[in-house]
């Protein structure tokens, strides 16, 4: 125990040393910019900072890159709340309640609650893993393809059953996303599927372009059509800061629950931010006495997914540094750099290099706090985006989105995909079909499909009933479908009886 405390202290000493701390600030600010602009992701930012990190001592590389990695989830909320466009795929659930709050003039409150939830989520997650480091090693060894497949399906079903007014519609959109995810080379046989004779589609449809199209275009079109500002009310409380903090304190138990869930999602390789976020949102909706306020600007719909996505990030660090198994896409990139600067995954990271492991956790916590403070300081100006005239904002946003869609690959095909999914996004928005399950189908499809084939290939169909984790997750999946349907039916019945009472009272005028 003394040894762990000593390492924790020595990690903190590293963090505030020169030039580690300035590097942390540089990384954090870069991450904030990349999180803020929809279409730019932390991944692109990491690629840009790699050349600087390589060749530096491990402490500096860690501070720079993990600072960037951690701060993106702080600022991706800002466009999600203010514009209804998630800054990254891990802020999609935040838009559901964050954007309606912004329309009600509560953007300041939503943002400060989000920052606080991020910080608390990160801290909780860090401490969970520091406490449980030795046990988790054993746990992760027990998971195999069937478990990974079921967890991916759970993520998909949660998004499908929670993000719209109808479970059936949500699940259909999730299946639509799965279908789109099948475009490209089959992961199992290597055959091109649905590629329409082009090589461009061999790698599948680009997620960033799809996200920007589905979520960005409809909002911008609406903005242009209305020719007004994003906020429908002229009175905006930029001073909702204290209110937001109080919200987080009031819902502390929700923050703890969602942080634990998010940390688990980070720890399990392949799940990552989007799944963590929907887990968080699901917990918030399911634990609410009256879930009908969700989607209309409920602060819990902002706090829960933000705490979960923030908690996911330290979680993803563990399998990466313990086993060399990257917990998410950013970690896959970071793993390469860690090795170049001499941080080799394995038991060393929890024994002789434990101080560096602590430095990694402290970096993520510190980056979140710095990003939150900077965001708070600049929030007043960021909120002004809401009050820029549409005629000015629309072209800028569109330009950013087109740039973002094709930035990573510089392929014109990405612009076409952006256009196609932009049109689909408008169609879905105006016909009231939820877009988020489709996105998750697209993200989880490439994970679920090979795991499904591998499960059947390896275990026949016996994996469906022989494995306890699979059975548990299956029960959760059934619950995730049945409970919302039951709630819908119950609500409808309640509404009807209320209506009957009303109509008898008013003498049948309604």
């Amino acid at each position: 125990m003394d040894e762990i405390l000593f390492a924790a202290g020595s990690g903190a000493v590293h963090l505030f040393g020169w030039p580690v701390f300035p590097m942390l600030v540089i990384g954090t600010v870069t991450g904030m910019v990349f999180g803020l602009v929809p279409g730019l992701s932390g991944l692109t930012g990491l690629a840009l900072l790699f050349p600087i990190a390589i060749g530096q001592p491990p402490e500096i590389a860690v501070a720079l890159l993990l600072g960037l990695y951690a701060s993106g989830t702080q600022t991706d909320t800002i466009p999600a709340v203010l514009l209804g466009v998630p800054g990254s795929s891990a802020a999609a659930a935040t838009t559901l309640d964050g954007y309606p709050m912004s329309k009600k003039g509560e953007a300041g409150r939503a943002l400060s609650a989000s920052y606080a939830a991020n910080i608390v989520g990160t801290i909780i997650s860090c401490f969970i893993f520091i406490a449980a480091l030795p046990l988790l090693r054993e746990l992760i060894s027990a998971l195999a393809s069937p478990e990974f497949f079921m967890l991916a399906v759970l993520g998909l079903v949660l998004a499908g059953s929670l993000s719209g007014d109808s479970v059936a519609k949500g699940l259909m959109m999730a299946c639509g996303g799965l279908l789109v995810s099948m475009i490209g080379l089959s992961p199992n046989t290597g055959e091109p599927r649905l590629t329409m004779g082009t090589f461009y589609l061999w790698e599948g449809v680009p997620i960033v372009a799809v996200l920007l199209g589905l979520f960005g275009v409809p909002e911008v079109i609406e903005l242009a059509a209305k020719n007004s500002t994003i906020a429908s009310t002229a009175v905006v409380k930029t001073n909702g800061f204290v209110r937001g903090l109080r919200d987080v304190a009031e819902h502390w138990w929700l923050v703890v629950k969602t942080s634990v869930a998010g940390a688990a999602c980070g720890f399990i390789p392949g799940l990552g931010g989007p799944v963590a976020e929907w887990f968080g949102y699901a917990i918030a909706v399911n634990s609410a006495k009256d879930p009908s306020t969700f989607g209309k600007g409920d602060i819990r719909g902002v706090i829960a997914p933000e705490a979960a996505t923030a908690a996911q990030k330290p979680g993803a660090l563990i399998p990466t540094i313990c086993f060399g198994i990257p917990g998410n896409a950013s970690m896959a990139m970071l793993l390469g750099v860690f090795m170049i600067v001499g941080l080799i995954p394995g038991p060393d990271m929890v024994t002789t290099k434990l101080d560096i492991t602590f430095l990694m956790f402290w970096t993520i916590v510190a980056a979140n706090i710095i990003a939150a403070l900077l965001s708070l300081a600049l929030q007043r100006y960021l909120i002004l985006i809401c009050f820029i005239r549409a005629t000015i904002l629309v072209p800028i946003l569109l330009a950013f989105m087109v740039m973002g869609a094709a930035l990573a690959t510089k392929n014109f095909g990405d612009v076409v995909v952006f256009g196609v999914f932009g049109a689909l996004g408008c169609l879905f928005k105006y016909t009231n079909w939820p877009r988020v399950p489709m996105t998750l189908g697209l993200i989880l499809g490439p994970l679920a499909e090979p795991y499904f084939f591998l499960s059947v290939d390896r275990y026949g169909i016996a994996w469906l009933w022989e494995r306890p984790v699979v059975a548990t997750v299956f029960a959760l999946i059934v619950a995730a479908i049945v409970i919302p349907i039951y709630q819908n039916v119950a609500r409808r019945r309640r509404d009807r009886s209320a209506l009957v009472v009303k109509t008898t009272h008013l003498g049948g005028t309604r």
Binding site: P51, P187, N188, F199, G270, G324, P326, P446, L454
Partner: protein
Amino acid sequence: MPYESHAGPVPASRSRPLKKFLLSLGAAAVALALAGPIAGSASAQTTLAGETVTLLIGFPPGSASDIFARQILPFIQKHLPGNPNVIVDSKAGAGGVLAANYLYSAAKPDGHTVGLLISVAEALAVESPAAQFDFARMPILGSQPINRAMLVHSSTGIKTADDLVNVTDPVLHGASGPQNTAYLSNSLFFDMLGIPHRALTGYQGQGAMQQALRSAEIEAAPLTWSLFLNTRASMESEGIMRGVWQMGSVTADGSVVADPAADIPTAHAIIQKHKPEAVGSPEYRALTAVHGALALGRIWALPPGTEQEMIDMWRAALAAAYADPEYMKISQEAGELPFQPPQGTQTLIDNLFASLRDPEVQAVLKRLLAPT
């Protein structure tokens, strides 16, 4: 009076200089266009100062190829004449082949674009329809071999290569896909040793395969050589899995050598020891071809039609970058194999094509690639 006489011509005199200006502009443009190629080649001889050079890779930012490219990039910049600005451009697609197609048919052969082609020899080896390029027409600058270690789970009882001959239960080995070198290599290897085996394909990357190995879903899986060297000690002390053999690197004379950084034998050496009768068989030659493609894992090439002076300049710069003491330290720490100069790379390519044209080798590979 003079004023009146001026009144008429004024608009004309105003328009004449404009016309003259436009004409001269046109002439200058024509002159520039004509002089362009000459001036370009003249300046290229000496320096690329102030210009931008593009390093084309076939995988997205953050991939192993991207990290490798960014690692060596400053040294290329340092050793190119004039120290131009060097940027990485990823044209990801079709498993790295898209970048090779682009370099072959779309990139300008002006020495300002260089390709770091990843796993494209593999695509040629399995006759991927996407591969639309020809090594014969592309100036080759050299290559960087890729080696892999094969990890085996402790439950198999295999601790050293000598234990392999005692195996009776089928070995489950993992690979990313049925066109992947690990799948081809291991299937051929187990077949020749007479070990029953079954391949599980579809793992999305090394992380997924490591996890599957850890949970004993599979019993053998490949691991990138550098990652193996760096995690070997902790892996052995943990005791769940260990590296038992390596793919090694195929040399220009067709022999396969083990990297001495870890004392595990190559697949070829194990067959030579335990099944000497298999040496020289179509399966053995197919194994050499598959590992030969791996030795050509990263090929440096220029677009077809690049002038000889440019080719020489690039070859010199690349050789100097690899020989830079600072870079050598980085590459040694990362566990990279040594650089293969242009001549050796060309021989490896020729050998690969010769063996792939062999009908017996073709038959073996076709049988393995046929959908089951």
